[in-house]
């Protein structure tokens, strides 16, 4: 059953794009066809992680919405950047969203998500949203089957996540799940899970410890490819399963 999963966070810097890219990679390695809509334009995270030179990107989803190109033109197959022998596929779909700039037909956006799924035979469509509460984010939040909120165990993130959940609840998103990222070694992962679930009332599907290897990789590549046996890779693999069942 093709799924549309939105990955979001209130504050920037939670590691949202990194998680999205790594989960996409894990799913593709199991043979699935994954699309990632990259809306986070200020952060060229997704292209960098997949080793894509942004200069090859000519079309975005916006061009399709304006009738300037076909839906297939907006998708860039980045699978080779991961592994030449990848059994599945990862497609990157750029989408320019700017604060206060929804000049396209919003219902067309929902259709375009479905069109992407059928044109590319996608098993999963991930939306890497721009952080924060912006009106431009709302369509992605509203049209997703699943909403994943990423936060760090940090007071600023805690407060902002509460605010975000209030807003998202009003949009009536079917399922909301939390990922707590960059957890200091001094905290017990299961305890963090328990506390965060208690505070927000939503399932925490992953608690990812802070990792100096991940930090040192500095977003130059995909963690799960560089460290296939790492505990974090195992956690992300379990998360990928939870998200897609």
């Amino acid at each position: 059953m093709p799924k549309i999963i939105s990955i979001h966070s209130f504050r920037p810097g939670t590691g949202k794009s990194n998680i999205a890219a790594n989960i996409a990679t894990i799913l593709a390695a199991t043979g699935q066809r994954i699309g990632i809509i990259d809306t986070d334009l200020h952060s060229p995270a997704i292209p960098l992680l997949f080793g894509i030179d942004e200069r090859i990107i000519e079309h975005s989803l916006n061009d399709f919405l304006w009738g300037k190109c076909s839906i297939e033109d907006t998708a860039y197959d980045v699978s080779h950047g991961i592994d030449a022998a990848l059994s599945g596929r990862v497609f990157l779909i750029p989408f320019v969203t700017r604060p206060g700039n929804i000049s396209y037909d919003v219902s067309l956006l929902s259709d375009s998500f479905q069109l992407l799924v059928s044109a590319l035979s996608l098993d999963v469509l991930l939306i890497d949203s721009q952080p924060g509460l912006e009106e431009a984010n709302l369509p992605s939040l509203a049209f997703a089957d699943v909403q994943v909120l990423v936060l760090r165990p940090d007071e600023q993130d805690y407060q902002g996540t509460g605010v975000t959940i209030d807003v998202v609840q009003q949009l009536g998103v079917p399922a909301m799940m939390l990922v707590v990222n960059q957890v200091p070694a001094s905290l017990t992962l299961t305890e963090v899970q328990r506390q965060v679930e208690k505070v927000y009332g939503y399932a925490v599907i992953a608690v990812v410890p802070h990792s100096s290897e991940l930090a040192a990789l500095a977003n130059t590549g995909l963690f799960v490819v560089h460290y296939p046996e790492h505990p974090i890779t195992r956690i992300l693999a379990e998360t990928a399963v939870i998200l897609t069942t």
Binding site: R11, G13, A45, L133, N219
Partner: protein, 251 residues
């Protein structure tokens, strides 16, 4: 002579709010009257570091920008919240954390000229020695304004390929806007990295002074924005680094 200092980064998650809060506190501890204004209306957060919660915020920056109040009414003396007696003062001008108010500003926009007036009125009416501006990441109208009116600009980046890319753009803009003093701060550097190499590389890449290469510190991460690091860990190397930066910014 009062100073306006902006703390900026191209991307989020560089540690801008924490750095701004710590630099402000360090300066206040030397006896200065320091204002801190959170212009990150889209994702406000610095108020958390100063222990100011929603219930105690009668007016926020948002209210001033909508013409509901004077800028002075949005300033809160948070010196007591620091929990440690210091000789100066910290005044915080927070942005609203209420979803509806954040969304409203984004939808309706605001007069950036009003923000500019606000900066200058704050310095005058609160008799500030320093006004520190915590900005939203990235280059937009508000951040360009902050950069343009600043006497000193600190750009924070992590040693990360995305940050490197974006910082170049920001440095160019800062040069074009003739900022009198421009400093780079490389933050959250993994302890496995060669710090001297990072400093040299960044200085060379941007042709700009690196005031500090700040290590990732577990204590900072664990503190989790619940308070001011420099006050909790006065002898930590990171705090010493921040003191040096504060001094450089004020020169």
């Amino acid at each position: 002579m009062s100073k306006i200092i902006s703390v900026h980064s191209f991307r989020g998650g560089t540690g801008k709010s924490n750095t701004t809060a710590n630099l402000s506190t360090i300066l206040a501890a030397t006896g200065l009257r320091v204002g801190v204004i959170d212009t990150d209306i889209m994702s406000p957060g610095i108020h958390v570091l100063f222990g100011l919660d929603e219930d105690h915020m009668t007016f926020s920056l948002n209210d001033y920008l909508w013409g509901k109040c004077e800028i002075k009414e949005t300033a809160y003396d948070v010196t007591k919240n620091l929990g440690v007696p210091i000789s100066g003062k910290v005044f915080l001008i927070p942005s609203s954390i209420k979803a509806g108010e954040i969304a409203r500003v984004l939808r309706e926009g605001y007069d950036v000229g009003l923000l500019n007036d606000g900066f200058h009125k704050l310095v005058e009416e609160l008799n500030l020695d320093v006004l520190m501006i915590d900005t939203h990441p990235g280059l937009n109208e508000e951040t360009l304004l902050s950069i343009a009116v600043s006497d000193a600009l600190a750009i924070i980046l992590r040693p990360d390929s995305q940050d490197y890319q974006g910082t170049g753009v920001t440095v160019d803009v800062a040069h074009k806007l003739d900022v009198p003093r421009l400093l780079l701060l490389v933050n959250k550097v993994p302890t496995s990295f060669n710090f001297a190499e990072v400093k040299a590389r960044v200085e060379q890449t941007y042709n700009c002074e690196v005031a500090a290469v700040m290590p990732h510190a577990d204590e900072m991460m664990i503190l989790a924005s619940s308070g001011i690091f420099a006050l909790k860990y006065p002898d930590h190397p990171l705090t010493q680094s921040l003191r040096q930066v504060a001094a450089r910014l004020m020169m």
